[in-house]
Amino acid sequence: MTYVVSLRPNYELATMYGWFWCGKLYNERASLLGYDVIDLAIKNATQDNLLKALDKDPKLIAGVCHGNTDIIVGQDNTLLFRVGDENTKKIVKGRHVWMLSCLAGQKLLPWMVQECGAVTAMGYREEFVFCIDTYPNSIAEPFFRSHFAGIQAFLQGKTARDAFNVTISTFKKYLDDPKVEEAIKPYLLHDMKCAVFYGDPNAKIGGDRVKVAEVTVKLERVEEWGRIVFTVVDSLTEIPIQGAHVVVKHKTKPLEYKGDTDEEGKLVIDGVEIAEYFFTVEKSGYKKATGEIKPEDFK
């Protein structure tokens, strides 16, 4: 398994947003891609817990934390990383550190790479600014999506430099989007311009990951019967998986439907009773996928 660390304290307004978006855009994505996420959230966002996490040899440390030129802090402003700190050296050596933390891009992040042996580091060399209205969505979203787009690309196998460029191009995409409020665009541009990257541009997140199949289930009602359409793709490459074995079991009756996906990763099961079902999808080399179907979802 390949482990990654998520740092997401939550103790005031900025970290409250960071905690939410980091969970949604980093933790969930990493899990979907087959990584094991060590979630150091809220009171667990401490340096002690980072040191304990080293036992699992995480490849990437990422999160949303307050920072300064030479420090990044966790829950309630407790120390996570500091220039000159021996524990910081131990934690970052041989790893990637990608943090949404203001000002750390000036001194702390380059120090991690140049003096501590971090493989890559990404962050911001000035204050990160974002806009909010109602928690947690709406106008805050483009800021966090832009930042985490690069991390998602890194998790998906892109090189560090290419992944960083995905963050920049996502900021640009929002800046060019007429649907995005003009009022937030100065701050998007500012954040984009102060994003910085250090380290080996060709580095990738290494390690063996269990491959994960992404299963989409479409349910249709055809007169009094139901049709279930499964689509199974590799979550990393999005290439359809042929020969994935699907089993659909009625929740209360001894009724079962089985089949394998075709070259397009599809399996259509027609004429099923409109009812509640469990399903499993299995393919050698992939993590088993499971799910539920409810009668009201047949439309």
Binding site: E12, A14, C102, L103, F128, F130, C131, I132, A183, L189
Partner: protein
């Protein structure tokens, strides 16, 4: 393939403040009742402002007000330079 001349565009602080007043007109009128906030993640932690408060900071020329003016000036310059190049 075309040739372009890099356009140099200057934006004054007053212009940046006027842009902010115009774009945030409704929120400024709402004062503290505006749901919109601008969050600066600074070395001292998060600094959170309503548009009305931030306008006041800009007018007073406080450090955060000046920072906001600079961010808007950069944006307006960037936007106009792009418009000139695209024409």
């Amino acid at each position: 393939m075309g040739f372009g001349i890099m356009a140099r565009v200057e934006v004054s602080a007053e212009e940046a403040i006027r842009w902010f007043e115009e774009v945030y007109k409704e929120e400024i009128a709402l004062g503290d009742r505006s749901l919109k906030r601008i969050v600066f993640m600074t070395a001292e932690g998060a600094k959170v402002y309503t548009p009305a408060q931030l306008l006041e900071e800009m007018r007073k020329g406080t450090p955060i007000g000046l920072k906001n003016i600079e961010i808007i000036r950069e944006y307006l310059k960037w936007k106009r330079e792009r418009e000139v190049v695209q024409k």
